[in-house]
């Protein structure tokens, strides 16, 4: 099992290539620069939050409140801007509120010892409610156009949207910290066996608190991008995004049981889900059929490791049985 993740995330990488090829051959509209722009722009928020979610799930925790934190960050920006705070300050405020919301989740989990699944289901509702309190039922629009343009325009001279910059930078950082530092090894150790990690001197609670705070910041940053991309701040933003994030993380080969996962796999998964969606849309799949496809992919990503595991066990059982039979024959002789 411990070796399997290496192959699974490579598999997702191959799958990404496959989906791009499939998209290219199935629709003339797919492999165009404008479509690539759409795909990248469309997955930016999910990608950023998925990076943090990967850490949390690898460490054996989960945060279901990410979409509400994203929306709370966006609502804070709108609230501050409506109160005539400069927009730049408002955006920083949004990220900070994300951090605070994440730390509050972390506090409930690590200090009070509550299960993260239950805590973050509660804060999912709590933070969403705070969005409505901040903005009422009046979304904020008319945001400064020079900022809003960044949300959906391209870097001059390229087809790449501006939003790809934070995605690439944050993915690089997340990759380096998880796979190249002591902190990253701690995260895996905690996920494999939290108690053993504690006994070997890893500050388990502090690491987990940091991870929840990190998830809050990333949701806050995603909230800024979301606000710019949709040129508005609305209390009902990003409803249901947590499912997209968790789907991408699991499809990317992070084990829901903790201890296993790579950033490379998660990024491949986010991109391939975006590519599949685009390709299927361009060959006129309806929204309902898209839902079936993405559900099936998620199911495959959960089932496939189990099946290969089963096959491997079966094979080793067979070989052991053969060995025993052989030994018995030898004994008889």
């Amino acid at each position: 099992m411990s070796r399997f993740h290496i192959t699974w995330d490579k598999g997702v990488g191959l799958f990404l290539v496959f989906t791009i090829l499939l998209g290219t051959f199935s629709s003339e509209y797919f492999a165009t620069t404008s479509n690539l722009t759409f795909i990248i722009r469309d997955v930016a928020e999910i990608a950023i939050i998925a990076l943090a979610m990967a850490y949390l799930i690898i460490a054996g925790e989960i945060d279901l409140s990410v979409a509400s934190m994203l929306s709370l960050s966006s609502a804070t920006i709108g609230f501050l801007y409506r109160a005539e705070v400069p927009f730049e300050v408002a955006m920083v405020g949004g990220v900070l509120v994300g951090l605070l919301a994440g730390l509050f989740n972390g506090f409930l989990v690590t200090v009070l010892g509550l299960p993260s699944l239950a805590v973050t289901i509660a804060t999912l509702a709590l933070y969403r409610g705070m969005c409505w309190i901040l903005l009422g039922n009046k979304p904020v629009n008319q945001l400064p156009s020079e900022w809003v343009n960044l949300g959906y325009s391209q870097i001059p001279g390229t087809f790449l949207p501006w939003t790809i910059i934070p995605v690439v930078v944050l993915a690089g950082l997340a990759w380096f910290v998880l796979h190249g530092t002591r902190f990253g090894r701690w995260v895996f150790a905690i996920g494999v066996n939290s108690q053993a990690a504690e006994f070997s001197g890893i500050p388990v609670r502090r690491v987990k608190l940091a991870l929840f705070g990190f998830t809050g910041i990333m949701s806050g940053i995603a909230g800024v991008i979301y606000t710019l991309r949709f040129a508005s701040s609305s209390p009902d933003g990003a409803v249901g995004y947590e499912l997209g994030v968790i789907a991408a993380v699991l499809f990317g080969g992070v084990s829901i049981a903790g201890g296993i996962g790579t950033i490379w796999g998660v990024i491949s998964a986010v991109l391939s889900l975006g590519v599949i969606r685009s390709a299927l849309q361009l060959i006129d799949f309806s929204a309902n059929a898209l839902l079936v496809v993405s559900g099936s992919l998620l199911l495959i990503s959960v089932i496939a490791p189990q099946v290969t595991d089963y096959v491997r066990n079966l094979r080793s059982t067979v070989s052991t049985t053969k060995q025993i039979q052989k030994n018995e024959r030898v004994n008889h002789e």
Partner: protein, 356 residues
Amino acid sequence: MNKQFKRSITAVAGAFLAFTLVGCASTTEAEVTESAAAGTTETTEALKIAIMPKAINIGYFAAWDEGAQKACEELGAECDYIGPNEATGPAQVQFINQVIQKGYDILVISAADQNAIVPSLEEARAAGITIVTSDADVAAEAAGSRLVSILPSAADRIGTAEVDWIAESVGETGTIAILSAAATAANQNVWIDAMGPYLEETYPNMSWAGGSLDSAVFYGDDDPTKSTEQFNAILNQYPDIAGIIAPTTVGVLAAAAEKKAKGAAVKVTGLGLPSEMAPYIEDGTVEKVGLWNPIDLGYVAVYAGVLGFNGDFDGSVGSTFEAGDTTYTVTDGGIAFLGDPFTFTPDNIATFKEIY
């Protein structure tokens, strides 16, 4: 290493297989549409129109699309009904991207979010797509992102039309009360404000219960139980009441049910869904209710879009266009209203109760 690689291949192959199966099914479908499209393009250059509801699985929008498809047939255009299955702006944006990518000529859209889709609409417009909002518009500040918006009725006319219906029911004489939604409900309050002076000016023999509009309005909070209680409160407070207007689908349904249960003589009208009100209209409890007609909204929007695309209509305030045999005028804010709310009577309820 070799074995491990084999295993990974097996795992990925599983995923591929599933995907390919789906892919095959879709190719056949795509081929069919393509060949059908090819058939029409040979003879005429059919306009490609995307009809995008807030969400595709809502019955109301099926009726809206029915109107749009009828217009498309009349105009020889090729219409696709596409959109998300959740009514949110971001979900709609993914489908607007598809519309841009596939080079549609016209987009008719009911905005699921009045702000979030605006940047995307601007992008579509820059790509040369003619955009008409219908049923739900973008924010007033973003009116420039579409050619025109097709909306049901001007707010004051929704109010005054209901006064006309009740006047007809009670024979233009007697006192009238209103069973509204919540006291803070913005739409209802605008309509009620329009009803107040209209009743006094138009129908001299009719008056508000208790002598003023304020004393005649009761709030059922769009809750069936509370609406029923408030209906009874009106009858207790004003025993000689002639008619009740309920400008909310919840209120009018509760009032009709309670009127029937009590055998009350008071006349009831208001804004009601034909599917819900059908039993009461069929058995005579209620003579008439109204609501906007989504079929007309879709129908008129496609006409506006095609005329706009061909350069025969520019959407400016005061400009006019024709759809079917009716002429519509663009009013302030780039909005064309259908006119009076559509009314449901024993004559047409059988048809409309099946639709929405």
